[in-house]
Symmetry: C2
Subunit: 139 residues, 2 copies
């Protein structure tokens, strides 16, 4: 498969993750995450969550919380390392920006998320205008 | 190579990263990072740094700063995904704990760092006593 298509496939998997997040769709979120390998997740400020059960339980709480912020991914950049791939991106939340690392693995010809870390940043994306209006306050 | 040895090799590469960091050894830090693939780095609160030049420039500044905190890695857990591997760990700094994701790729039979993200956490490692005395203040 050409490298360009692989990049597009990884970015599509990343978009599926943020779409599930933004639409509070727990079933879609479950589909996004890998099943054949151990998964881990570090939500902003949290301790690392180890294993699928702990990770999905956290998403059930987050997606079921009516006060959870809206979220959008911008400036996503994919890097492919054989059977694994990362996406480094900004997350646009109502309070400002976060930065995230998303790690994907190839599972039955699909890219599946196996690790996510998001945290605060004082940085701004190269083209903040593309993110739309956000508050400059992070907290 | 048996899986146990691979895990040990990845954890050794992770230790080499934190040893270079703790001893302010820029030459060793340079050796830790991959050369054959694009590298990225998200220091706590920073915007993502893209490319080896930007990443190594940041380390030159951090390791050359006499006020940079001491650092130690604990609770490191490695996961191997073919030619890539992650380590999720706590970083013990004088102000408390950070959590980090370190991504390694196999390069000429050695595991080399290609991405690092560290950020604040309100979590504590399962065995905080192992970390030694630290302040509970993160900021």
């Amino acid at each position: 498969m050409p490298a360009v298509s692989e990049q597009a496939a990884v970015l599509a998997a990343n978009e599926a993750f943020y779409h599930a997040f933004a639409t509070r769709d727990l079933v879609a979120m479950d589909r996004v995450w890998a099943r054949a390998v151990a998964v881990t997740c570090i939500h902003p400020g949290w301790a690392p969550l180890l294993g699928r059960e702990a990770v999905m339980e956290s998403w059930a709480g987050i997606l079921g919380n009516p006060d959870a912020p809206s979220i959008r991914c911008i400036e996503a950049r994919a890097s492919i390392y054989g059977e694994a791939a990362t996406v480094v991106c900004y997350e646009v939340v109502h309070r400002g920006y976060l930065v995230a690392t998303n790690l994907f693995v190839r599972e039955r010809d699909a890219w599946k998320l196996c690790h996510h870390q998001a945290g605060p940043t004082t940085g701004q994306p190269p083209d903040p205008a593309a993110a739309g209006p956000v508050s400059k306050r992070l907290h």
